[in-house]
Each structure stands twice: as C-alpha cells, then as structure tokens.
Symmetry: C2
Subunit: 490 residues, 2 copies
C-alpha cells in the first residue's frame, strides 16, 4: 500500500492527524468533537487499561461506577471547581421526544423539561463526594480507594483526535482519607504509578512535578503532573494527581468520627489519565512510515508474510509458517499470518509498518530451501536473515530490544531538547526550537502569566527532582530557589 | 452483623431491593433512576465482563467505541426504530453554563443552544450504521464484527436497581455482513454465546427462543432472546440478539460491491446484555440469608475467619492461616483473611453469608491442636470439620460442587415451575402461582395483546427447541403448530 502520510518535517500536525486515521486508530464522528475509536486503536487502549487497572489494584484500589449525570447545582458547591469546570458542558434539559406535528420527524417534547438540568459529567468529584457522604461515618470507613473507568464530556471548541475531544474515555480515582498525610502520600503514590506506566509500558519518559497555583485542578490544593516531550518539541501533560484537601468534604458536608472521638472533614485526592495517552504514545515514537508501538502495548507483536509467486507455493509455505506461528503464540506473542492473496508483499510490508507491528517475518521458497527466515524490526526498519530454528528466540529478544530502544531514543531526544537559560531573550529563541527549558522563576502568578502571553510558553511543572540552585527570575530578576520546567504544550 | 433483610416469602420485591443495598452491590443515586454500582457489585460485573469479552473475542469479534451522543434526526431515519426508541431519552440542548446574574449559582447559557439536539444513546445502531457507511465499500470490507462496552440511557419512569435503570452499563455488538445467511447465523451464534454464559458461568438456566413480532426490537426483522425464571416465578429477559435485515443499511445508505460486481445493501445484526444480568444473578440463587454467588463469578472465593479469645491467639492462628491462604491463592482462588478485631466471628459469618462468599473456613485454637479446619459452604450452609492437610483439595472440589449445585437447583426450580395447559381458565390460575407456562397460541398479535391485557402474561418467546405439536389456541381455539412460552415478567 502507498502510505501517503505527510512527513513530520513537512507538517507535524498534519502528519499526526493523517497517521491516526490511516493507521485505523480513530476517526472524527458526525458529532462535533466526538471521535470513533476504531478496533485497532481500541485494542491498544484496552492493553493500556488492563495494565493500569492491574497497577491500581496492586496499590489497593477497587473499581466502582457512578452516574453519568450530575445535577447542575452540585457544581456551585465548591467555589473554585465551578470556575474551572462547569462552563463548557453538555447540558441535558429534557427527557422526552415526540413526533412532530407535521409527522415528518421528531421534536423535543417541551412538556418533558427537567426541573433541574443535568450536566454530563466533565469529571466526577461532586457526584462522588455527595455519595461518599452516605458511606462515611467513622474512621473505620476510611480510607476509600475507588477508581472509575468512564466516559466524560467537556465541550472543547477546538478538538483533535485523542488529544482533545469533547467526549473521551478515562479513569478517575477518588480517594477519601482520615488524615492529611495519608491523602498527600496517596497523591504522590499515584503520580508515581502513572510515571511507571508511561516509562515501563509506553516507553515514554516523563518529568514528575507539581503544577503552579494557576495550573492546578479546579478545587485542588496541589496538583502533580507528568510531562512528556513530543517529537515536535511540545510538552504533553499525560496524567495528573490532585491533593484536594478538605475542599470537597466541606462542599458536600462529609465528616467522620475520628479515632479520638472528634468530628473532622475527610481528606481527598483524585487522579486520572485518559485516551489522551494514545496521543502521547503515537507522537512520542512514530515516524514518517507510520506508527511505532512498544511491544508491551502492541495488539499484534509479529506478522508473518509469505513470499510466493503461485498459489500452490502458499500451501507449502503455510506448512512451515503455521507451526512457527503456534510456537510464537505459546511464548505469549500475538501473531498474525497475513496470507491475503489480493495484495502483494510490498503492500503488506507498508501496511504493517504503518500499523507499527513490532516484528515482521518474511518467508519465501528460498528460505524454505535454506531453512531461514527474514526478520525485520519496526523501530529501526533493519532486516536480517536468521536460521529458522533461531526465529522464536530472536523474536523474543527483539521484543525487549525494541521496548528498550524506543525508550532510550525518546530519552535521548528529550535530553537533546532540554535546555537551560538565564536570559529571557535566549529563552524566546530556544522556544522557537521547541523542547523543555529549565529556567528560574520568581514564583508569582503575574510573571507566569506575562511569560505565557509573550511567548506562549507555560510552566509545565515544578520538577520534583529539581536541585536547589539560587538564581534570578528570567523575567523580573527576582530571587528563585530552583529552576522550573517551561515549554509550549498541547 | 444482623442481616435484617425481609424474607422472600414476606415480600420478594423488598427482599431484592434490600439485598442489593445491604450486600453492597449498588444503591440509588441522587440522580433519578441512575444507580451507583458499589465496589463489590462492580467486582462481580467485571468478572462477567471479562468472561463475556473473552467469549466475544473467541467468536471473532473486536471492540471499538462510538460516540455517546446521537443527532436527533438519526432516529427518524429508520421508521420502526424511532417508534420503539427515540421517545424516552435524555436530550442535550445546550453546551454551556454561565454564572447567574445574581452571582449565586450557575444557569444554562441560552446563547449556547445546539443547532440540532443530541440524544444520549439509548442504543447505538443509528450512529454505528452512519459510521459503517464510510467503512464499507466492497465485500472485502465485510464482515465487520464489532462490540462496544458502553453506558446507555433510557428515561424509564419506574426504575429498580440493576433490573431497570435510566443509565445502565452494557455491551452492544453490531455486525455487518455480505449476505443474509451469514447475518442470520451470527444472530443465532450470539444468542448461543449468551446462553452458554448464563448457564456455565452464572449457573442460570435459560430458554432460547424467538420473540413475537410485537416484542421484537425496534427495527429488527427477528429477535432472539434468552429467558430465565426468577424465584418469585417471574420471567426475566436476560439477553437479546437481533437480525436487522437490511433495515439500517437502507436507512443510512450503506451499500457494498458484491463479489459478482453488483451493488447491494449490507446485512446487519445487533446483540446485547447489560447490568440487568446482575439482577438475574441475584434473583436466581440468593436466599433469606443473602447472596449466593456462583464461584466462577464470585470476587472472593474463600474467607478465613480466625476464632480466638485473646489477641495473642490471633498471631498464633495467623501462622497457620497465612500459609493456607497462600496455598489456596496459588490454586487460583481469591482468599480473604478476615482478621478484624472489632467484630465477633458470628457477625463476620453473617456478613460473609450476606455477601455470598462461596466457602468459609474457620480456624480456632482447638483446630490448631487437632490439625483441623471447619469448612462451610454458602449454598447449603452445611459445615464440616476436615483435616487441615485436606483443606485445599476440599475447597477446590467445593467450588465445582457449588457451581453445579446452584445450577441444578435452579434447573429443578424451573422444572417444578414450568407448566402446560390447554385451558384459558387453568392458565389464569397457573399464572397466580407464577412460573413458565407452555401453551398454544394462534400466532396473531391481537390474541397476544388480549391475553396480556387480561392476565398480564406475555409471550416470552417461541422456544427454539419446542417440538411440533398440533393444538388449539388457548384463547381463540384456532389451530397452532407448537406451544409458546408464557409468563409474567420483569
């Protein structure tokens, strides 16, 4: 097949959009801002979900499900939450349709107006804390460590597949604790779980850090995030974990009897990652030939392509290929035997590259004679001939090698694109190249805002591992104790 | 703990409602008709999902995700679909809120009115077939075998936890085929998958059959269902599979180039089961002491309760219990060691019975001396003392025994409550006792409707395995070729 994708150099943004559609990951739907996640894209998301779910359960969490709809008034309960969240939402006002009087269609039944409008959840803190009120009486009921896999809706004006869509899929953890320290520890634990997932499974290196006050979640006292660097030099916030203090407990009057017999408000955290991770995965590794997937999240690990002229040869090749397929499957790999006779091998190769299948094995009549196979790896596009009896071992090694190699490559890219400066002019020049910039900041919202207005760069986070280093703010020259991470971002 | 559940004999409906709440399965939310699925209930649903998903994949299906919202006009496209579906729906009319002018809350921003209202999906045939239009050009693109796990909303007036809620979780399969026979075969295949799941995993026997024209899915040419009998003698429709013919392809203009080079409309099926299965599971097996769960779907298989007077003894018991727990876990069982020191063993026993944990092991100081354990099974409430070194094997056997026993019990119950009659008067008497009634019917909608009006009984299905038997319609005396299944239902 001809891939016909715009190259990254030509137009990165177009490359991304075309890749998502042509690799059969997702597509825009007829409903503004809502995407269709196609089977191949969904298979990757399922792998992400399964691994994240395992990690959540290993850290003591359980799943539950709360309503899609939230009464409008709930959003006004927590003052800063309403400012940040309740504006661009899908609003349900009616619960019935009826035949139109001209008999030609259906119309909203004006008699079926809801007394109070319902909001399609943009996030579930309010409905969940309203429920926790009934579940929590004493310290014995704590902690509550719940996660929810769900769809949420935020009426974004400008949308992009996976990165920013009106409806998206995510998980949202909502935990309740008897004391502040435990809630803080949970907040940090979960940002670490996310970082582990991105680095070990997605092969995407991340910077963990705290958000500035301005960039915090609406209603949080502290927000931790992980920031990844995309190939175009833009940062992508890949996950957040929020310390909510007692804000939602106060808003929904959730008190508990402490061990000491007093009454106190419950401490809260929330944390989430979404189908946006798909965007991060695609943009971190893929190239002008298509997707590059880490083996740990690839729906298909190996594709086997028979090379033949005549149909009779296919049957012969299958006699060798099917046992090989079976043996690879017994090692835990998902294998596809691409025996389509409607397209040529070259077309197949291009298609498998486009879809990011980590390893391709080609076997032709000459291989049969020689007892060999040709093995190609997707990340480097290298191909080499091996003795057939080494194929299974080679594939197994390659999976580790590819997983490590794309992680290493992403780390090197980030290293090469992380800069440091103390000059505002140099800062602006650096921004044009893209990448992360570590610079001093005076800690004020005014400075942060001015830098953003003037350069479109935001403070991505205050990295947790930033060393103490006295310096002067890039813009104002006021004193600073450590550098913060700036970048333009998605 | 005191269970305090109403008995089934006293009030079956109240027993059910109380059990769902007290066993921590689900609860009503503040949003009318929407439930909160609590962690224990959700853990059972996750087990159901995992098994069903496996069975769908084994039969060649893949998952995908389509938008939550459907443009209103889509429902008018398929004439019978609009009649059956698009009426009691949640309607999104606006996409923004704003601060109220009095500054005291938020109101819907009347400037942000959608041009066309969006319906929260009650089922997804319309949006999916509108998408398939872009995916299908030729017979090479067929079949499409897609499933979606999703939430859906139907604005039901009278709701009951799991059985009928405004929002519920489900899966909906939507397949597209090049010919009628293949689509028909798919429809039957999936009703068989559902029947297998209910019988082998949920231990709920079902009758497979076809729905009458009146009871068909809106837009289907044929609907297959599985019908289960609950302990109060009412039928519950547990799953449906629809042969949609070319109706949706015609409504959304989905044509394909056939192998012969002509153009034809695509053939369709859809099929679904929902969180309603949770209701079926609960009502089929549970008793006045609480839930009875089939081991194959139980989130916790074994609970171990230490019996002791003094706290020192607990540490000693733990030395025996922890290795036992580990060994049971190595066999694949999920084991809970209930070492709470805040409640007595009797309270724990009652709680574990309420929650339907299949096997309970109690170990006290005397057991330690004698090298024994007491093993109790939830289905029969029998308990017996075994040598400690037989415990693991005994538990493993018990899991099979319990799974089989509750299935056998449910089948016997159904057998005892399936009756046959040729007299309308006797039919009415039988209905008062509850249960399934096999009777002759003349095949007309008028008769079906009159019987329903007069007796509240509906034709649940035309059982697939009904033998040919000439007879006379119960009501009209007109000729009939086979008996159909009547019952009052949920």
């Amino acid at each position: 097949m001809s891939k016909g994708i715009t190259s990254r150099a030509e137009n990165y943004s177009q490359w991304y959009n075309e890749l998502v559609v042509k690799a059969d990951l997702a597509d825009n739907s007829v409903v503004r801002g809502c995407m269709v996640i196609k089977p191949y894209g969904y298979a990757i998301w399922e792998k992400m979900q399964a691994q994240l779910d395992k990690m959540f359960k290993e850290t003591g969490h359980v799943n539950a499900y709360f309503p899609l709809f939230i009464p409008k008034s709930f959003f006004s309960r927590e003052a800063s939450h309403v400012e940040g969240f309740a504006k661009e939402c899908a609003v349900v006002t009616h619960y019935r349709l009826k035949n139109s009087s001209d008999g030609k269609g259906i119309v909203v039944d004006s008699d079926a107006r809801l007394e109070e409008e319902l909001i399609v959840r943009p996030t579930s803190e309010t409905i969940i804390w309203n429920t926790y009120k009934d579940w929590i009486q004493s310290y014995r009921d704590l902690p509550i460590l719940i996660n929810q896999w769900a769809n949420v809706v935020r009426w974004e004006m400008r949308t992009r597949l996976f990165l920013r869509t009106a409806e998206f899929l995510w998980q949202e953890g909502h935990t309740a604790h008897a004391d502040k320290e435990e809630a803080l520890a949970e907040t940090v634990k979960m940002i670490n779980v996310y970082a582990d997932f991105l680095e070990k499974y997605m092969a995407v290196p991340v910077i963990k850090g705290r958000k500035t006050e301005k960039e915090r979640f609406a209603g949080a006292l502290d927000t931790y995030s992980i920031e990844a660097l995309m190939q175009d030099g833009k940062a992508l916030q890949a996950g957040t974990s929020h310390f909510l203090g007692q804000n939602f407990a106060k808003a929904f009057d959730v008190k508990f009897a402490t061990r000491q017999g007093t009454l106190d408000y419950v401490w809260a955290t929330s944390w989430g990652v979404s189908t946006r991770l798909m965007g991060a995965l695609i943009m971190a590794h893929s190239d002008d030939n298509g997707l590059v997937l880490p083996p740990k999240l690839a729906p298909i690990h190996v594709v086997i392509v028979p090379i033949y002229q005549k149909t009779e040869q296919l049957a012969q090749l299958a006699e060798t290929i099917l046992p090989l397929k079976k043996e690879l499957e017994s090692k835990g790999w998902t294998v596809k035997f691409d025996d389509r006779d409607t397209v040529k091998p070259g077309f197949k190769f291009a298609e498998h590259e486009l879809k990011g299948i980590p390893v391709r094995i080609a076997i032709g009549p000459r291989d049969m004679e020689n007892g060999t196979v040709e093995i190609a790896r997707r990340d480097t596009l290298e191909k080499k001939v091996y003795p057939m009896n080494e194929a299974v071992e080679r594939v197994t090694c390659l999976m580790d090698e590819i997983q490590e190699n794309i992680f290493r490559k992403a780390k090197e890219f980030r290293k090469a694109n992380t800069r440091q400066t103390d000059s505002y002019d140099e800062f602006k020049e650096m921004l044009e190249k893209g990448g992360f910039i570590m610079a001093h900041w005076d800690g004020t919202g005014e400075t942060e805002e001015r830098i953003k207005e003037e350069t479109k760069a935001t403070i991505r986070c205050l990295p947790l591992d930033a060393s103490e280093e006295t310096g002067k703010c890039l813009l104002t020259g006021k004193p600073s104790q450590r550098r913060v991470l700036f970048a333009r971002s998605y």
